[in-house]
């Protein structure tokens, strides 16, 4: 595979993951970090290849999704690393509050099972710093969201870079 096609999404995906992990930056960038990283990765590809040709949608989608995937990989890695170091995260901290609310209600079997799974996840994180179920959940969630936002960023970047598109 052409290394030039991988490098811009890798760099931008890593950058996006770092920015979403740093407290404060996420407050400013919010939901625009991954899409902007995709736009930047298309810009970088243009610079690397020194071309003035318009970008086609296929390339834009490729760069967008790849940036999202790399962002997902690094974001999940940072999240799991922090969880492993601290043996806690926002999910573990929020669970007692959830349990307090739930104690007031009689749960059916399905909700009870879900609750015990969440409790198990929390216990694993507190005891070992890692929960496979949590890791899978967060990877899956990041994968869906970042891929979509990366793709949208790629399409946005294409329209933006190609300057004029009449619809």
């Amino acid at each position: 595979m052409n290394q030039k096609k991988i490098l811009p999404p890798l760099v931008c995906g890593f950058g996006a993951a770092v920015l979403t992990t740093v407290p404060g930056i996420k407050n400013i960038g919010c939901c625009l970090i991954v899409p902007l990283a995709s736009v930047l990765s298309i810009f970088l590809d243009h610079k690397i290849n020194k071309t003035d040709l318009p970008i086609n949608a296929k390339s834009a989608i490729w760069f967008g999704i790849m940036t999202g995937l790399f962002a997902t990989f690094f974001q999940t890695f940072f999240d799991l690393l922090m969880t492993y170091i601290l043996h806690s995260n926002d999910f573990v901290q929020a669970l007692p509050q959830t349990e307090a609310v739930i104690r007031h209600y009689k749960l059916n079997a399905l909700l009870d099972q879900t609750m015990s799974m969440l409790r198990q996840m929390s216990n694993d994180i507190t005891n070992y710093g890692f929960s496979a179920f949590y890791a899978f959940g967060i990877l899956f969630s990041n994968l869906i969201v970042n891929s979509i936002f990366g793709l949208l960023g790629g399409l946005l970047g294409m329209t933006f870079i190609n300057k004029r598109t009449q619809i």
Partner: protein, 158 residues
């Protein structure tokens, strides 16, 4: 592809986009919509984590209805609502627009200035201002993305 099929394909694409954005927006306010508090208490941490991927979710910057917080901040709510409004409009009416960088900058600048001014402390964060600038940005960005999708999925087959 003849004109009739072309219009039909466009409409299907726009409808699919509308549905996706609608589901996303309903997810944001699901905390308000789910009346069963036990279900809500369990789904809350999961959805909060899910939407947390793309938003800081700071309580002070988030809308709430009857004490139930949205899962994204006011600015993000505006962006997605703007996209939803324009996706609804695009099902019935769509003007020919020349998309260029100026329009994008025009949409981005109020939001960027609001972020900058609140960040440097010129004024405190105003939810409704963030929401308003978000709506404007989200609606314009939706037009760009729709243009790109239609160019890719439909126009190339003509």
């Amino acid at each position: 592809m003849n004109n009739k099929n072309f219009s039909k394909a466009k409409l299907i694409l726009r409808f699919v986009l509308f549905l996706l954005i609608l589901v996303w927006c309903l997810g944001i306010i699901s905390n308000v919509l789910i009346s069963n508090q036990a279900v809500s208490a369990i789904t809350n941490p999961i959805l909060k984590k899910f939407y947390g991927t793309v938003c800081h979710q700071i309580d002070a910057k988030t809308f709430s209805i009857n004490g139930h917080k949205f899962f994204v901040c006011a600015r993000c709510t505006g962006i997605y609502l703007g996209a939803l409004i324009f996706s609804t409009i695009s099902l019935f009416y769509y003007p020919k627009i020349n998309l260029n960088r100026k329009l994008f900058y025009l949409a981005l600048s109020p939001m960027a200035l609001d972020v900058l001014f609140a960040w440097i402390g010129l004024y405190n964060y105003i939810k409704f201002l963030a929401f308003g600038t978000g709506i404007f940005f989200g609606s314009i960005v939706f037009i760009y993305i729709l243009a790109a999708l239609e160019n890719y999925f439909i126009t190339r087959n003509v």
